[in-house]
């Protein structure tokens, strides 16, 4: 099962504060364990929302709002994509994670939809299109 493991933002991450060498080393070691166990598929940190933007959709209208965005608790600072046997396994691994922030922090785990989940709404043509799109996106990564 595939999961997105979402590191929530904190005042430090939104301020663009660099993590300490100790935290980086601890995270590096943890990430290495995740990779060696075959759990980690991908992961990235995001620049603060002050560098970001939001787009709102109303019919054909689009409006763009520049960051930063006020509700730090609702923002994300980074993520991993993990492959685990179950939510329980993902939680077990996540509990071993060093606190990613200097202050108290939170990480959310969400299961990723697969083609099978969509059932009949995903017609054979759409499923083929989906598979093709993903396969070619993988090539773009190289």
């Amino acid at each position: 099962m595939k999961f997105m493991v979402i590191v929530k933002a904190s005042p430090e991450s939104e301020a663009g504060k660099m993590p300490s060498t100790e935290l980086l080393a601890a995270m590096g070691k943890y990430n290495e364990e995740l990779v060696k166990a075959g759990i980690m598929q991908d992961g990235a940190g995001l620049h603060p929302s002050s560098r970001g933007a939001r787009v709102r959709f109303a019919g054909k209208n689009r409006s763009v709002i520049d960051g930063p965005f006020a509700e730090t608790k609702e923002l994300i600072a980074g993520y991993w994509i993990w492959e685990c046997k179950s939510l329980a396994e993902a939680i077990d691994w996540l509990k071993k994670c060093p606190n990613p922030m200097e202050s108290d922090s939170e990480i959310e785990i969400r299961q990723i939809f697969t083609s099978e989940d969509f059932g009949e709404a995903l017609t054979p043509e759409l499923r083929e299109q989906e598979d093709r799109t993903r396969a070619m996106a993988e090539k773009n990564k190289k």
Partner: protein, 140 residues
């Protein structure tokens, strides 16, 4: 430059377990996804099951604490994401505006941190973990 486009659908925070997107919306989104891929900008994408099926781990005072979804105080939650590679922030925003999203949806655009963005001391530590750096050094 890499950017995440984060889909934030209003109301998803209270979606019941097993909630699925509608077929019409899925079809329109697939067309959009294909256009991203054909333009050569799409790196990755995923839809997320609702928070009611998820969990959170919080780190207060160093001890991990697990809470099952749904999360009462959450006003905005992720429904999915795209990771794209484009030449500028403007180009990323332009792609986001082309998404066939509805009035209850917001897309947040966030630039991905590349190794080269960090100061030398930070890069030095990160380079000790080579398996971690599939995209190291790509800061365009």
């Amino acid at each position: 430059m890499r950017f995440m486009m984060l889909m934030i659908p209003k109301g998803y925070e209270s979606a019941a377990p097993g909630t699925m997107p509608e077929a019409k919306a899925v079809e329109a989104m697939m067309k959009y996804n294909e256009s991203l891929q054909k333009a050569g900008v799409l790196l990755a994408l995923d839809g997320l099951r609702p928070p009611s099926e998820g969990a959170r781990v919080s780190f207060a005072g160093g001890k991990p604490k697990v809470t099952d979804g749904p999360f009462a105080e959450a006003k905005e939650v992720l429904g999915g994401y795209w990771m794209i590679q484009v030449k500028s922030r403007e180009e990323a925003i332009e792609w986001a505006t082309r998404c066939p999203a509805g009035p209850n949806e917001t897309i947040e655009i966030r630039q991905v941190q590349e190794l080269a963005d960090f100061p030398p001391e930070v890069q030095a530590v990160a380079q000790k973990y080579p398996e971690m750096q599939p995209h190291a050094g790509k800061s365009n």
